[in-house]
Amino acid sequence: MLDIITYVLIGIGLFFNLMAGVGLLRFPDFYTRLHAGTKCTTFGSIFLIGAVVLQSVAAWIDGGWGSPDSVLALHAAIALAAILVTNPTGAHAIARAGHRSGIKPVQAVVDDLEDAKFND
């Protein structure tokens, strides 16, 4: 039962990571590629690392309170937290840098930022 849940989680995570790769190739401009590259990998890693945490917590419960599997579970959770905090912040930095270095959104119906003047 536990293994089935784990395999489902791994399947969902791999699907979204593949969508990130395909989206990077298919989308027409920088901003839309950033959508695919940021959202899909973050969501995919929640499921993949969630599968690791699930398995190691189960092993922790089997092995008793002081078992070394606790290290695996907690460190994987910390890695997930690091990804969740750094990924959107990094995407924000890249988007801002891209716009300031002069990249225009392709096929845009509206661009409020271009109309506003940035002096700094």
Binding site: I10, G37, T38, H75
Partner: protein
Amino acid sequence: MSWLPAVVFLGVCIAIALVRVAIGPTVPDRIVGLDTVNTIVVVAMVLLGAAFREVIYIDVAIVYALLSFVATLFIAKYIEKGKF
């Protein structure tokens, strides 16, 4: 549990993202590809740690995630033509 096929599949995703890094066409496009590769590498390291039951992979993954974030910020600052 067999984790290694998942790691191989993530390797395919990394290869697809590396195509975008290679063909560009602009510098920010390449950075988006690089950022994606970084995240997938972190996840792949965590899966390898679970596959071999070695915590050292996951420790390296945590440090890699934080350092790649700093690197992304620095490259973004660089192409922004801003002051450090």
